[in-house]
């Protein structure tokens, strides 16, 4: 084994002698390699091979961008299926220094971060459950699916559970004047099963389901 330990110089200087250049160069050089070349090379390849997902899986309808397939939207109208509660907020349009609740704000993802014992959480869940039962014509003591009354992690969750979609079907069908079975069939069609039959949970894709509902209504007069 080659022994390069300097014995003549004082121990402290031999330890860091000749190190100024490699230390400074390593910072600058590897910044360029890992911070610029690597992401740019990846971007170029990704844009070439998978342009649509690389740009965020955007959905266009009648020449207008209506959303991203992956990002949930805030639905309040009765003829649409509603997504999960969202804890995101945004600046008040009237007074930009103040933040107000702004569900599904895709520029500021956030969660409630409330612990299980939090009174705030319990009050919020009780209120959401009350509204959910009211909107969907359920008995005041009816059980509601947990995903319908708890805020998602991202505030942008694009999915709801099948239990949640099932309970909303009657309302949506009534609001649209569509037969319930037809709405239920669309729910089934926009449900993704576990990936490869194993991974994750079965999930109903709210935005795609609502788009399909709009399309079905638009297509009906032509079909009749």
């Amino acid at each position: 084994m080659k022994n390069v330990e300097a014995t003549s110089a004082s121990p402290a200087t031999s330890i860091i002698s000749g190190m100024t250049r490699p230390v400074l160069m390593s910072a600058a050089f590897f910044m360029v390699v890992t911070g610029i070349l690597y992401p740019l090379a990846t971007t170029a390849t990704a844009q070439l091979l998978f342009r649509r997902p690389a740009q965020g899986n955007l959905i266009a309808k009648d020449g207008q961008l209506v959303g991203s397939r992956l990002i949930g939207q805030y639905f309040t109208q009765p003829q649409y299926f509603h997504g999960r509660p969202s804890a995101t907020s945004g600046p008040n349009p009237d007074d930009r220094s103040r933040m107000i609740d702004q569900p599904y704000n895709a520029a500021a993802s956030t969660a409630s971060n409330q612990g299980v014992l939090s009174r705030k959480l319990l009050a919020a869940v009780a209120e959401r459950a009350r509204i959910y039962r009211e909107q969907n014509g359920l008995a005041p003591d009816a059980q509601v699916p947990v995903d319908a009354v708890t805020a998602s992690a991202s505030g942008l969750d694009p999915h709801i559970s099948r239990a949640n979609a099932r309970l909303q079907t009657i309302r949506v069908a009534a609001a649209r004047g569509m037969p319930e079975q037809e709405v239920a069939a669309l729910v089934e069609r926009n449900t993704t099963q576990r990936q490869f039959g194993i991974l994750g949970e079965p999930a109903v894709h709210v935005l795609e389901l609502n788009l399909a509902l709009d399309d079905a209504v638009a297509a009906r007069p032509a079909a009749q």
């Binding site: 121990p11 402290a12 330890i15 860091i16």
Partner: protein, 76 residues
């Protein structure tokens, strides 16, 4: 940790109104040691340079300490 402070965290009120003086002291001294600027607002150039100097000094001090650890370990 004193019982009062645990109490404060648990109850969410300030039973103990003292300042954590050590940290404030360092900030004040660090501030005085710098000849320019008296603003502590990091958004102003003068305030920013004071804070920048403080954090750069802190970083240098830490890495100097760690280098000292390397040099001094075999005397442990």
């Amino acid at each position: 940790m004193s019982p009062q402070n645990l109490c404060r965290i648990y109850m969410g009120n300030t039973l103990w109104d003292g300042e954590f003086t050590g940290f404030r002291w360092i900030l004040r001294r660090g501030h005085r040691a710098v000849p320019f600027g008296n603003g502590t607002d990091p958004q102003t150039i003068r305030g920013a340079s004071m804070w920048d100097l403080l954090y750069i000094m802190l970083t240098v001090a830490f890495f100097a300490l760690a280098t000292g650890l390397i040099l001094g370990l075999d005397r442990l």
